[in-house]
């Protein structure tokens, strides 16, 4: 445990010393602000349109949660597909390239502790980032009346998505000593996770159920709608567990090559 914290501490520190953390956070929050602004503007426009048309039922069914927060969260998840690999690509690849990996592997530390430390650091970082993006819906609470429970579930979902991405990113980084390769392959894996159910949506194909189950947005969408079900949580947790297990194996295998 102490080793894990030691490694996580160093890792987090290096995010902020090499300004990766600031750049990634700035980009994420800027884009989130832009999406928020655009969605709010659209919300306002549609509301005016309904009012002009005297469309009572339309106005009643139209709300901030569905029109602003849901699409905002979905957009942010896609932004994470690109940004998380930029955070995780360094984790193992850089240590292998600079030789500091030799220090870690010859220290009295288990490989699992190394993986856990790196996961903890990157996980905390993305969770903080997602939480900071929570300022936008918070603005809505002051000026409107969105459903807070639904909003919270959605942000929890986004945090789960981010942490899953971190686990996958750690795995691809552990496979190589080249950061670009780590980033591209993790980006590819995450995007695939995102679109894996597309054949199933086009019509009945074999394994349609399986593809839908594997699809990450399928589970994320439930949480964005405000439904926190065990099934989705289990999906996220098992994805994290599988990715971390593979990372541990691959990090350990560096010894055998």
């Amino acid at each position: 445990m102490r080793n894990t914290l030691t490694i996580a501490g160093r890792e987090l520190q290096s995010y902020f010393v090499q300004p990766v953390a600031y750049v990634v956070m700035t980009v994420f929050l800027l884009l989130a602000g832009w999406f928020f602004f655009a969605l709010l503007r659209r919300f306002e426009l549609i509301l005016e349109m309904y009012a002009a048309l005297r469309n009572q039922p339309g106005m009643q069914n139209f709300n901030l949660n569905q029109a602003v927060i849901e699409p905002l969260l979905h957009n942010l998840a896609v932004v994470l597909v690109i940004l998380v690999p930029a955070v995780t690509m360094r984790t193992f690849a850089e240590e292998k390239r600079t030789g500091t990996y030799e220090l870690l592997l010859t220290s009295p530390v288990r490989t699992g502790e190394i993986v856990a430390g790196k996961f903890l650091a990157a996980g905390v970082f993305v969770i903080v980032m997602v939480a900071l993006a929570g300022i936008y819906p918070l603005i809505l609470v002051f000026f409107g009346n969105p459903e807070i429970g639904v909003m919270f579930a959605g942000y929890l979902g986004l945090a789960f998505v981010a942490v899953c991405f971190v686990a996958v990113g750690l795995f691809t980084s552990s496979l190589t000593s080249n950061q670009i390769i780590a980033a591209i392959s993790s980006f590819g894996a995450l995007l695939l996770l995102y679109v894996i159910s597309w054949p199933a949506e086009a019509g009945e194909v074999q394994f349609a159920g399986l593809l839908r189950y594997l699809s990450l947005p399928e589970h994320f969408a439930q949480m964005v709608k405000g439904i926190i079900s065990t099934q989705d949580i289990v999906y996220f947790l098992s994805l994290i567990a599988v990715a971390l297990f593979l990372t541990q194996r691959s990090a350990e295998s560096a010894r055998w090559r």
Binding site: R2, N3, T6, I7, G9, R10, Q13, S14, V17, Q18, T98, G99, T100, Y101, E102, L103, L104, L105, T106, S107, P108, V109, R110, R255, W256, R257
Partner: protein, 259 residues
């Protein structure tokens, strides 16, 4: 105390070291000599538990580095060929990080870091960023990191490389001081270094130990250089005898080992 017994390491079909055995006693500095690609780094990486051997055993302070890996690693200080320094950290933070990683207790942390830094002449650069240090200072930071947890066994892969003459003298003095109650294995290309610093020499060529001898037992009138060249020449002549061995030598030349 380090006991290396019948160590063999194969990368695929390429045999990097073959049946390497030697012993280093406490209080002794063992000079590990050999031409480039002879298997020095491979041997040291196996001793430090960085990678496992294909065959053979290594005992560090009586602990098997494969089966009692964590315990053995706690007792080893290791300076790899390239000092494993995080270029974005301050020297002080780096040494503190390594000390924690090596299991130095929270209370002893400050003292351990100070002592290692003093020993390696780093007091003046504690607040500097490692990446901005000269090669010589990085080397010293690496050495300080290797001794920060006060290990009974030190493995140093070319510790004086990249240092200026004054620093070389200082580091040698430091290593000699450290060796009083420790076991030190030191690899180098510099032959005079061995005769000045070491008590014992192991010469390795093409993955095989060709000589293991105490320095004071080496024949009078014979310089270490003569011994080294003679041992390697004998080994190569010997290699030409059997065809199978010749093939192995050639395979070794065509596919360079990853160092």
């Amino acid at each position: 105390m380090i006991e290396v017994k019948g160590l063999t390491k194969a990368y695929g079909s390429f045999v990097a070291i073959k049946d390497v055995s030697f012993t280093a006693e406490r209080g002794q500095i063992l000079g590990f000599l050999g031409p480039n690609g002879a298997g020095k780094t491979t041997t040291m990486r196996i001793i430090t538990g960085f990678m496992p051997a294909t065959a053979g055993r290594v005992l560090v302070e009586g602990l098997d580095v494969f089966s009692q890996s964590l315990e053995a690693r706690r007792r080893i200080g290791y300076l790899p060929e390239n000092p494993p320094v995080y270029s974005d950290m301050r020297v002080e933070d780096y040494l503190r990080f390594v000390a924690k990683l090596k299991g130095v207790s929270r209370n002893g942390l400050d003292e351990a870091v100070q002592k290692a830094a003093r020993g390696c002449g780093l007091e003046g650069v504690m607040r500097r960023i490692c990446g901005q240090l000269s090669k010589g200072y990085r080397q010293r930071v690496g050495l300080a990191a290797a001794i920060v947890h006060n290990p009974p066994v030190l493995i140093l892969d070319e510790p004086t490389i990249g240092l200026d003459p004054r620093q070389i003298i200082e580091i040698r003095k430091l290593i000699r001081g450290l060796a009083k109650e420790r076991t030190v294995v030191l690899s180098t290309h510099i032959l005079p270094e061995v005769s000045q610093v070491c008590d014992k020499v192991v010469i390795i060529n093409d993955g095989r130990v060709v000589l293991e001898e105490r320095l004071d037992q080496i024949a009078r009138g014979m310089s270490l250089e003569d011994v080294f060249l003679k041992a390697i020449a004998e080994e190569e002549a010997h290699g030409l005898v059997g065809e199978a061995e010749l093939e192995e030598v050639e395979a070794g030349r065509s596919s360079e080992p990853t160092q």
